[in-house]
Symmetry: C2
Subunit: 391 residues, 2 copies
């Protein structure tokens, strides 16, 4: 592959992770989260539907482990030499008799880890309950500690190299929302608009080809917009309905989620009052998103402003974002909510998403934000922050 982060960047990431391993008393760390695999090694491929991972020891290069047919992809995308790429054969794929974790246990043993304390990502999508059972059967002397977000936490502050890539993703997000607002109109089939959104996403922008986003465009209308995660179908957009477009451009697996809501027709006063309250609340949140403040402060600023306008908004109002693979573009570390005491630091990036799912409609206006060295957060995407009305 032609593009890869610098070796200094990979070295930085591994040094950070090793310090965390030391704090957690881990002899080794085995990561299965594809984002963490990529972040440590550069490995990129749609292969996370079979067992694979990266083994990090206190010294030496990380070891990529996975299915043989994917080891060729590892050689082409990860920075380590072929000595650090290990595989298992296709006999282990979806078999009743063999489990890939048997070969991983052998790899652990080869590295002297038979009775070690090994961190594994117990709450990761791609580390199944059965995977842990097999490891426990194979390695009765070992301890498997939960290290679900050990690497994720090292990812919260983005490097300059990463921010260059995220800004490109944000430019794609902006282009996608611009395309939506130009095209959406009553009578247009929803899937036809999503087809154009995808085309914009993958074409990308000048200097940034579009990668696949970790979540599909979410585009619910009217009452469907009371539900958070419905996808599309072939029905037309209708006059009198609000539709929100929650989507993200992606470049080299980095994301910048972005959402705007369109109202086709003439919105009611209630809708317009809600819009005004939400925009004021977002501005309060952005102003609180300063280095040294806590993640909670953003949520408190948002929610107290909404409450002054009579809107009670439960739930999270955002999360850390960056590098990601399906099924989620969140980093699973910092949450923008009242009880998150994480101190905001320059280089942190969040999807600030104060969506309002009302009783019979929904309003989402969101921003991907970057914590600056001082002052309020910077919004990485650029489109008017308002309810878009198309009469």
């Amino acid at each position: 592959m032609s593009e890869r982060f610098s070796q200094a960047e990979f070295d930085r990431r591994i040094a950070l992770t090793r310090r965390a391993m030391e704090r957690e008393g881990l002899d080794a760390l085995f990561v299965t989260n594809p984002s963490n695999m990529n972040w440590l090694t550069g490995y990129d491929g749609w292969s996370f539907y079979v067992h694979q991972g990266v083994l990090l020891l206190p010294d030496g290069a990380p070891v990529w482990w996975g299915r043989r047919m994917d080891s060729f992809g590892a050689r082409r995308t990860a920075w380590m030499s072929a000595d650090y790429i290990r595989d298992y054969t296709d006999d282990y794929i979806q078999s009743d008799d063999l489990h890939p974790m048997e070969t991983l246990a052998a790899l652990f043993a080869e590295h002297g880890l038979a009775s070690a304390r090994i961190g594994v990502e117990k709450e990761n999508y791609y580390f199944t309950a059965r995977a842990l059972e097999v490891l426990l059967e194979q390695m009765p002397q070992a301890t498997f500690a939960d290290a679900t977000n050990t690497v994720n936490w090292q990812r919260t502050v983005k490097s300059d190299e990463e921010l260059v890539v995220m800004r490109k993703a944000a430019a794609i997000s902006t282009k996608m929302i611009e395309g939506v607002m130009e095209r959406v109109e009553p009578g247009m089939a929803k899937n036809d608009l999503v087809a154009e959104i995808y085309r914009d996403a993958i074409q990308g922008v000048d200097g940034a080809w579009g990668d696949y986003p970790a979540i599909v465009p979410l585009v619910p209308s009217g009452e469907d917009a009371t539900a958070a995660h419905l996808t599309w179908d072939g029905r037309p957009f209708e006059t009198g309905e609000a539709t929100f477009f929650e989507l993200s451009g992606c470049h080299r697996r980095y994301h910048a989620p972005f959402c705007r809501t369109v109202f086709l027709g003439t919105p009611s006063d209630r809708v317009l009052r809600t819009e005004a309250a939400l925009i004021e609340a977002i501005e309060a949140g952005l102003d609180a998103a300063r280095p040294g403040n806590r993640a909670a402060d953003i949520a408190i600023a948002l929610k107290s402003t909404l409450l002054r306008h009579g809107i009670e908004r439960p739930g999270r109002a955002g999360y850390a974002v960056g590098l990601s693979y399906p099924p989620d573009w969140g980093e699973h570390t910092v949450s923008i909510r009242e009880n998150d005491q994480t101190i905001l630091r320059p280089g942190m990036t969040f999807h600030f998403m104060p969506a309002l799912w009302m009783e019979d409609w929904g309003l989402e206006i969101t921003e991907t934000i970057l914590i600056k060295d001082d002052g309020p957060a910077e919004c990485l995407c650029h489109y008017p922050r308002k309810l878009i009305v198309k009469p």
Copy 2:
């Protein structure tokens, strides 16, 4: 949502699953595989990145359980009444203190399952190692049996209603490959072609809107095609390279994967000889894909034909397909490989994918096939079965 399978179809599915539960001695079955959730209830949403599932008991409607904001989507897409939709609050999302499985344990207890034998999908992507740990902590008297593919196996023979939908997905796959072959040419950036593939996929065809496929288009060229699962970037297609396009249309979550390979320029004799051998081998495989034969017979027919031409091909040559969610469009049941003794039955559908990953190039020509009442399998997609050469 406007489209849903008939109640008779859901009743058929649940009756099949209950017979399997009885055979496996299960008091209850908890499914987390989004495909299985959809198949039993109709639930559809991009919400599988948080804990959710469907509880099936020996009597009564299934119970949907998930995040509160997704319960609204369940009400709009699943066939059960609101009494059968249960949720947990956002406090449980990605929290260090609370785990959603605590609320599931309470739901189990409410149904008298505190010391029951409950089937769970231990090898499913969305049932994490931690999820099982929490259930075991909360319910020390219960037994959690591995029921990973209990529902999947009931899905292998498609109903007439399902085949109507799969044929629509296949029509979209055909359209996608037609679009590729019209557009691909040296110098075109790969992501620009993928943008058009996505647009074709989501636009769909007359009478069938396009849903998101469970796997992104896989489009490796040249040496990248020695690796199975690399995605795209912004580099141009080049003369003298083979590129394979493995992709699937999707309609209402049903898939019909399809692959053709294009060679830009003049292929060598070695490439053409490989092509001829592969086509002959595919025909032998299709002829062996008859009801009463075993899945193994397809693999044996394919591989023995290839071997006669001096090509040794290890690994699986296909798998059951149908309803699916990311990250995989395979059903994880029947494999087309020499040791799979499954008897082929009318209505079974497979992605017959005898890809050849050679030392420095790759050739993939695949078909989604339907086992008929008699005779060889039917191919659901329609495009000339050959290496496409664009000079």
